[in-house]
């Protein structure tokens, strides 16, 4: 195996050499900064700590990062088919599995990069504007920084599962537009539909993907949405889905012919 990282390099080039990636990052940075400034301008009596605006910024950022990553993920494989570049990409001395893996790794790195960057950005911006306040307890008696680090970690896990799902859709449908549309529909629609289903009294509902994606529910004191769910349970359900998504993606990508 000669330099597999060169393949990941290639995929990174295809992500970061496109203006849209930097536009996405710009939107994220400007929007969260705007939210902080908005909070500051309403904070005339100085009662706000940095954590309230930080939480709002983080929530907005994570939602947008999820959407952006899904867009890039859905386009990752399907886009190569749409543009026809898949034909040049695959006729190299690399197995299809490794080429697919390089794409997947580049996506995970992208998700990680944006998550860490936005976490740091939101923290710094709100720290500078509001000053540090370490004397609060969050969730189940945690220091704020510990609480929000955990929150971001949980959200990252959900994000990886969602990205894997859109990567699967991308491989199945081979059309960039369709993959992006379907992935976003599943992401936004799936949340709503399972949210409604959660009110129904069926035992199997708790095994659905989307109910288990909001891992942050276990951070607070409110308890789970449905009785019988716990952090371990949700992680297991996500892991089960993850394995199935990965298996189908790799199986299909290896097996199917590349025809016009």
């Amino acid at each position: 195996m000669f330099d597999f990282w060169q393949l990941v390099n290639n995929e990174n080039m295809k992500i970061y050499r496109r203006p849209r990636t930097w536009i996405m990052l710009g939107i994220l940075l400007v929007l969260t900064l705007g939210i902080s400034i908005l909070f500051f301008s309403f904070n005339t009596d100085n009662t706000l700590t940095m954590w309230m605006p930080f939480e709002v910024c983080a929530t907005v950022a994570i939602l947008l990062i999820t959407i952006f990553t899904v867009v890039i993920s859905a386009e990752s494989v399907a886009g190569e088919f749409t543009s026809g570049t898949i034909k040049l990409l695959l006729i190299r001395p690399w197995s299809r599995s490794k080429i697919l893996l390089s794409k997947y790794l580049a996506l995970i790195m992208f998700a990680l990069f944006f998550m860490i960057l936005l976490f740091a950005w939101n923290f710094l911006v709100n720290l500078i504007i509001f000053g540090y306040e370490g004397d609060v307890r969050m969730g189940q008696d945690m220091a704020p920084l510990q609480y929000y680090t955990l929150m971001h970690l949980f959200e990252l896990i959900s994000l990886i599962v969602v990205v894997t799902l859109s990567f699967l859709i991308s491989t199945v449908f081979r059309s960039g537009g369709l993959a992006i549309g379907l992935s976003l529909f599943l992401l936004l629609g799936g949340n709503m539909i399972t949210g409604l289903l959660a009110f129904l009294d069926y035992g199997w509902i708790k095994y659905l993907l989307f109910l288990n994606l909001s891992l942050s529910q276990y951070l607070g004191n409110g308890g789970p949405m449905i009785e019988g769910m716990s952090l371990g349970f949700s992680l297991s359900v996500l892991a089960g889905h993850y394995v199935v998504f990965i298996a189908i993606t790799w199986y299909l990508f290896n097996k199917r012919d590349v025809a016009s």
């Binding site: 060169q6 393949l7 290639n10 080039m13 040049l88 012919d257 590349v258 016009s260």
Partner: protein, 318 residues
């Protein structure tokens, strides 16, 4: 299974010196439809090998199987002794290809595109990339985004990525599609040069017969997924071959009478007969000596198109 794959392998290693690719009973079925039907073909080293057939004959499917984009239903494809099915990485290393249009990443520059493909194959230095850029004549525009390129420039970039790793086999699917006459001519000369100077075997598909005639040393003709014929292209300087010769004269009746010892066919003011080069000159002298004015002599070389039509029973070719 292991036995059936072993036998073509050993045979191909024996023939490795003069065969770059061997297709052995290659069959592709999609559903019930047989697209390629037991295609067996050897491509000799160092030749420009044409793969000719009407649209829908299975050219692109065959090429896609040769580069591993499609799986074979039956049969084997061996490239430089490596089975494409079982040793894909080793087999494809020797191959450079453009399948259909040379589609590149439009949002990257030409250079970034080349860098992308260079990273996937070991041993391609930056110097080699520059060398190839120079070779295909893209130096002035290589750092521009591909979306600003004309089709001809994209084609050249496609050739650049295909020859960058010095393959022993270059596979081009309909390379002249969409090129203007100057571009076609340039590509043709370039391919011949590659075959001559670098010893690269070029496997090129086309439905344009006249193209193939000018470009190739040998053509395989395929129709409805079946191989009809493989034949070398006759070079024009073949002196002993007889061809059909038309004479245009002022008094065809007199000429017919004069040449009654030969098989002459009258066609209006023209008459035609079979003759080789020397005979044509002699005939001309006889006619002139008999006070018959010769306005024109036209040698009809049998084009590939005629041969093709003959073989395929006159099926229309687009």
């Amino acid at each position: 299974m292991s036995e059936s794959t072993a036998s073509p392998d050993t045979r191909s290693s024996m023939a490795a010196d003069h065969t770059v690719v061997r297709l052995q009973g290659v069959t592709k079925r999609i559903g019930k439809r047989t697209i390629i039907d037991h295609l067996t073909l050897d491509v000799p080293t160092g030749e420009v090998f044409g793969f000719l057939g009407p649209n829908g004959a299975g050219k692109t499917t065959t090429i896609r199987m040769m580069v591993g984009l499609m799986k074979l239903t039956e049969g084997e494809i061996i490239i430089r002794g490596h089975n494409i099915r079982t040793e894909y990485e080793q087999a494809i290393r020797h191959v450079g290809a453009i399948v259909e249009n040379p589609e590149m990443y439009k949002y990257l520059t030409g250079y970034q595109n080349l860098l992308h493909f260079a990273r996937m194959i070991p041993g391609i230095s930056r110097q080699r990339i520059d060398e190839v850029v120079e070779l295909v004549g893209l130096k002035a525009r290589i750092h521009d985004k591909v979306k600003t390129y004309s089709l001809g420039m994209r084609q050249r970039l496609g050739v650049a990525q295909a020859i960058m790793h010095k393959p022993s086999l270059l596979i081009l699917d309909e390379p002249t599609n969409g090129l203007d006459p100057a571009g076609i001519r340039e590509l043709r000369d370039y391919l011949r040069q590659l075959a001559r100077q670098e010893g690269i075997t070029v496997f090129v598909s086309s439905h344009l017969l006249s193209e193939m005639e000018l470009m190739c040393d040998r053509v395989a003709i395929i129709q409805n997924g079946r191989l009809i014929d493989v034949r070398p292209i006759q070079q024009a300087s073949n002196e002993t071959a007889t061809s059909k010769v038309y004479f245009e004269v002022d008094r065809p009746d007199a000429a017919m009478k004069l040449l009654s010892d030969m098989e002459v066919v009258r066609e209006g003011n023209l008459f035609s007969l079979q003759a080789d080069r020397e005979q044509v000159a002699a005939l001309n002298a006889r006619l002139v000596a008999a006070q018959i004015k010769v306005y024109g002599i036209r040698v009809q070389t049998k084009s590939l198109e005629d041969q093709f039509l003959e073989m395929t029973g006159g099926e229309r070719i687009v």
